[in-house]
Symmetry: C2
Subunit: 193 residues, 2 copies
DNA sequence: CCTACCGATCGGTAGG
DNA sequence: CCTACCGATCGGTAGG
């Protein structure tokens, strides 16, 4: 149970994302965080510069995970349908493997500072574009119905991103099965014929 | 532009849900709220008992709207497919007609006090059960594929509830069209054959 | 990583 | 709806 082998900065991040998920970023005080870790509040500042630093670590760390999962799929030579299915499964796996971070990512990104916020929005647009290009490709090849492209991608993200709200490790199906189920529901609703 | 005709309590609620949506419930202070309204912070307490009162008004008010929209559809004699389509459209219309309240509803319900929180969860379960029963009915009649019922409903809610994140009144399609598009994507992915 | 502490701000009350 | 104010708590710093 003790995880003394990880460094303190990671430890802080992990405890923080649990608390942020449970109570929200703003409602979690540095005193709460320090108390949960077992050190004095002021000691946190030996490892981080500010509260927002932690939020940045969480948000940009997870953004990086999403890209790492999706990029190789997008660059591959698979069919649009297979790409979309795999991208959905990969995305949902990142979420289910990082439930605390995902909750913070989706809820609390707006509490990032002005500069980080801008960077965050840019990354998110770039990531959405990955999915948009798969959908576009599929429409061009007539394997996807020609629905409004932006709308279609938003619905795909909707179905994927809500996962963190209800997924419970252990009690649910495993993440690959869930990803494939979501993909099934979406793709079979998209396909020509 | 002036809406002096509504009473102050409603005025407070409306301004509050704008601020809560933008900055979050916890990050919005009573001083922010009073400043936006143009009164002194202490004056708010002539109209409300506590900050959480406002959150309760918003959350339970919207819950009521959801039920009012869905109940007549569920009680009707339409086919499961038609019921589901109409319930989806109705749900999305409630969201798009109450974007501020919806954002608060989905983000900040967990900041309700213990008692309200319990009541909220119960209402939410009851509401989900409305959709679950439509899906169950559809499966029994073999018009919906026999997927895990709970999972299917969660995916439906996912696709519906994310709407508040991206819907922009005016610039988007109207809410009925959007609801029907979401219904199309979901139902055509659910139907036998 | 701790003790000691800062100025700012919080939700809310008393009393009119 | 206002003035005046409360105790509590906030994020963060100084200095060791």
């Amino acid at each position: 149970m003790e995880t003394t082998y990880i460094n303190r900065k990671d430890h802080i991040k992990q405890v923080a994302q649990q608390l942020f998920r449970k109570n929200g970023y703003t409602a979690t005080s540095m005193r709460n965080l320090a108390g949960e870790i077992g050190i004095e509040p002021a000691s946190l500042y030996s490892h981080i510069k500010a509260k927002e630093d932690i939020l940045q670590q969480i948000c940009f760390g997870l953004a990086n995970d999403f890209f790492s999962a999706a990029n190789p799929i997008c660059d591959s030579l698979m069919s649009p349908e297979e790409k979309l299915r795999r991208a959905i499964v990969a995305h949902i796996q990142v979420i289910t493997n990082n439930l605390d971070a995902s909750a913070v990512f989706f809820h609390d990104w707006r509490h990032l500072g002005t500069e980080s916020l801008k960077k965050f929005r840019t990354l998110r647009s770039e990531y959405e574009e990955l999915f948009r290009s798969i959908v576009r490709e599929g429409m061009a090849e007539c394997v996807f119905r020609k629905v409004n492209e932006k709308f279609m991608v938003l619905t795909i993200f909707s179905a994927m991103n809500w996962t963190y709200e209800w997924y419970q490790p252990g009690t649910n199906l495993n993440s690959e099965v869930i990803g494939n189920n979501v993909a099934d529901m979406l793709i079979n609703g998209l396909k020509t014929i």
